[in-house]
Amino acid sequence: MVPLSYYLVLSAVLFCLGVAGFLIKRNVITIFMSIELMLNAVNLTFVAFSAQLHKLSAQVFVFFVMVVAAAEAAVGLAIIIAIFRSRQTLNVDKVDLLKL
């Protein structure tokens, strides 16, 4: 039997790697992929607790998280296309119009 804490630790490690990618990466598409990684880590926690507590509502929540992530990916990638069209770059350091 795999203890619940192993799944939680894996999920925490994946989440921290997602945060690290969000901080380190300069390409806006890769930053977006790091956000997806964090969402996946949270989903793993939901499913692990669902199996431990024998509650299926957690899996319904995973379903909602996936729907929101899919909507976010569609809108976010459209925004990336719009940014690229106006600036010809994907580097977040060059998209700094609001910076003082």
Partner: protein, 167 residues
């Protein structure tokens, strides 16, 4: 025992894929390693008995969302990312702080959660389509309808944002 071995194999694949996502400079390589992470997560969901979630993880995430990512990378012809001064600060300050945070969380989890394992045999499922559908279309009917409106708005927003301007 087999449970634990399978967990270790796919947990290792998950972490390796996530590290590779950070290490690669070209976004297409990062996208492919993210697909590895999502595929191994689907196997972990199966180990946890979540059959339906594993299926939609492969179909929606590894399928639809990642195809969208790869499509945009190809469309914009994204090349290797460049270095800048700001990212160096992020590496030297952010990464040690994150490692400390991860170590703290792992220590807390390993010492404060009950050691009782997930009591499921391999191949035993508790999250089939029928019980989930019962929940989704009865107890969670209103949130379900609200998300359908949300995704409709997201589709329209994506179309409006990605279309070419009038001028």
């Amino acid at each position: 025992m087999l449970h634990l071995v399978l967990f270790y194999i796919f947990a290792f694949l998950c972490v390796a894929g996530a590290v590779n996502l950070l290490a690669q400079r070209h976004p297409i390589n990062s996208a492919l390693s993210l697909i590895v992470v999502m595929g191994s997560l689907a196997v972990l969901y199966l180990l946890l008995g979540a059959e339906f979630v594993a299926a939609i993880q492969v179909i929606v995430y590894a399928g639809a969302v990642m195809v969208l990512f790869v499509f945009v990378i190809m469309l914009l012809n994204a090349g290797e990312e460049e270095h800048s001064n700001a990212s160096r600060v992020a590496v030297y300050v952010g990464v040690p702080a994150l490692i400390a945070l991860a170590a703290l969380v792992v220590y807390g989890l390993l010492h404060n959660t009950p050691t009782a394992g997930v009591q499921l045999a391999i191949g035993e499922f508790m999250g089939g389509v029928k019980p989930i559908a019962n929940l989704l279309f009865r107890d969670f009917l209103l949130p379900f309808e609200v998300t359908s409106v949300l995704i409709l708005i997201a589709i329209m927003g994506a179309v409006v944002l990605a279309q070419r301007g009038e001028d």
